[in-house]
């Protein structure tokens, strides 16, 4: 066999090694980080929200906890794997507020807007980490025990990033608005409609124009859908939208019902590779 054949094969093998090692390194996050979040939550014991943390599988430094200094009642459940991938894994940290630690509020306070949290690592270090935006509503708590004019009927969400919530009206009320602070941010990528579900005769849904008067026995249905991903590119941002249905009773008293709309990214290997590349590019 000619020496040129050996040299050519050797060159191919060396090129394969250099290329693959470089590609592999370029596909790994330099260090773990939180995904970007846009979350709305109440500062109340019933509220929960998830934070997603993406970590390089080979990184020995692991996230073990979170502290939010502005929210003394914040606690979290054990960190769980959300999605384990070849080179990176996404972990979910489900936060909640401990009932005994939430101080009662007799009047509503301005919402807190948080952009960073304190991450605690297994090597004993802690670091301020950007998480996006967490809007924490500080409404009156505990809420009054007065009976509400509606009753939760059904709700659900689907893997196509859509969902719905239905309530049954128990006494006549006026639906004045359905809104969220995140609607402007999401723009066309979040769509919802409000419909009146008729229970009489053939079931049908009638689109509502707000404000709308609702009668006892009617069902109000809100359907939402995240129009993500755009152009086949997944968005590595998690959303928790609090769609607040605002009502006014006949005596003028205001009340509301909240429908949570969540978008949680489930990236493919290719999506994750793009995300890592973009992250590395920005870090340079």
């Amino acid at each position: 066999m000619k020496i040129t054949v050996y040299v050519a094969v050797l060159a191919l093998v060396i090129a394969s090694w250099i290329g693959n090692i470089a590609y592999s390194r370029g596909s790994q996050l330099p260090e773990g980080q939180f995904l970007s979040h846009y979350i709305e939550t109440d500062y109340a014991p019933s509220a929960v929200f998830d934070l997603l943390y993406v970590d390089n599988n080979k990184d020995k430094r692991k996230l073990i906890g979170i502290r939010i200094k502005e929210l003394s009642a914040f606690r979290f459940y054990p960190i769980a794997a959300h999605q384990e991938m070849r080179l990176q894994s996404i972990y979910v940290i489900r936060g909640y507020f401990e009932e005994e630690a939430v101080e009662p509020r007799t009047t509503a306070m301005e919402p807190l807007i948080l952009h960073s949290i304190t991450a605690l690592y297994n090597d004993g270090t802690e670091r301020e980490e950007e998480v996006g935006e967490i809007i924490v509503y500080r409404n009156v708590w505990p809420m009054s025990e007065k009976e509400r004019p509606f009753l939760f009927s059904s709700g659900g969400s689907s893997s196509d990033n859509s969902g719905y919530g239905t309530i049954r009206i128990d006494k006549p009320i006026k639906l004045t608005s359905v809104n969220s602070r995140l609607l402007d941010r999401l723009g066309d990528r979040f769509q919802f409609d409000v419909k009146l579900a008729s229970n009489r005769g053939t079931p049908q849904e009638i689109p509502l124009t707000l404000p709308a008067e609702l009668k006892q026995g009617e069902s109000l249905s809100v359907n939402y859908r995240f129009m993500i991903p755009d152009e086949n590119k997944i968005e590595m941002t998690a959303y928790r939208v609090m769609l607040r249905e605002e009502f006014q009773e006949s005596d003028g008293r205001r009340t509301n019902h909240v429908l949570f709309a969540d978008y949680t990214p489930y990236p493919t290997e290719a999506d994750m590779r793009s995300f890592v590349r973009e992250t590395r590019r920005q870090a340079e």
Binding site: M1, V9, L12, V13, S16, W17, G19, N20, I21, Y23, S24, S27, N57, K58, R86, L87, E269
Partner: protein, 203 residues
């Protein structure tokens, strides 16, 4: 010379095949490499093939001892884990040294066969080396794809080429057995490729 080739073939059997009960290899590689070295010593020659085979076998013996000492020199092609660059490099280096040993053994057999006019055996030795080189180079080329997964079916392809390499190595065992039958001679016979010609001149 017959005994030398038999030692080499048995040495290759021990070195290439692992029969393990739990983690204990019943066919220790180290003994295999020692047998190959013993066989090569019997065929002592000044040819570069011989030196390459000898040197590579010594290195493989050292690596097998290091493995006994706990060095990680294996990767699994069937689990979903990603090997480290270090472990993959050790496996690739072992394959390259293994190729060098097979190159030397095939070269020695070919030279001896040519010296004794056994052209078909010499051709078989050349072809066996070509097969070894093709599969060995293929494995060396494909192994780093375990890091990047750039080829969708890279793992299956690597397993197939690895099996090809194993079979081509098995041909070397058969080649050594054939050489033991077709190349009779004294212990320590010179496997120099030009020996036949020299002998003719002397005669």
């Amino acid at each position: 010379m017959k005994r030398a080739y038999i030692r080499i073939s048995w040495g290759l059997v021990l070195a290439l095949f692992d029969f393990r009960i739990q983690s204990i290899d019943l066919l220790p590689d180290g003994i295999g490499y020692l047998l190959i070295m013993l066989g090569l010593t019997t065929l002592k020659s000044a040819r570069s093939d011989f030196r390459i085979a000898w040197g590579a076998t010594v290195m493989l013996l050292v690596l097998s001892i290091a493995r006994l000492g706990g060095m990680q020199a294996e990767i699994s092609l069937t689990d979903n884990g990603i090997p480290t660059v270090d472990s993959l490099s050790i496996v690739a280096a072992t394959i390259v040294i293994d190729l060098a040993m097979l190159y030397g053994i095939c070269g020695v057999i070919r030279a001896n066969a040519q010296a004794r006019g056994r052209i078909r055996l010499a051709n078989a030795a050349r072809n066996t080396w070509h097969a070894n080189f093709a599969f060995g180079a293929g494995v060396s080329f494909l192994l780093p794809f375990q890091l990047s997964h750039l080829i969708e079916e890279g793992k299956a392809l690597t397993i197939m080429v690895m099996l090809g390499y194993l079979f081509s190595s098995f041909w070397v065992i058969l080649l050594a057995r054939r050489a033991s039958r077709e190349l009779p001679g004294q212990h320590g016979s010179d496997p120099d490729g030009n020996l036949g010609r020299k002998m003719d001149i002397i005669a």
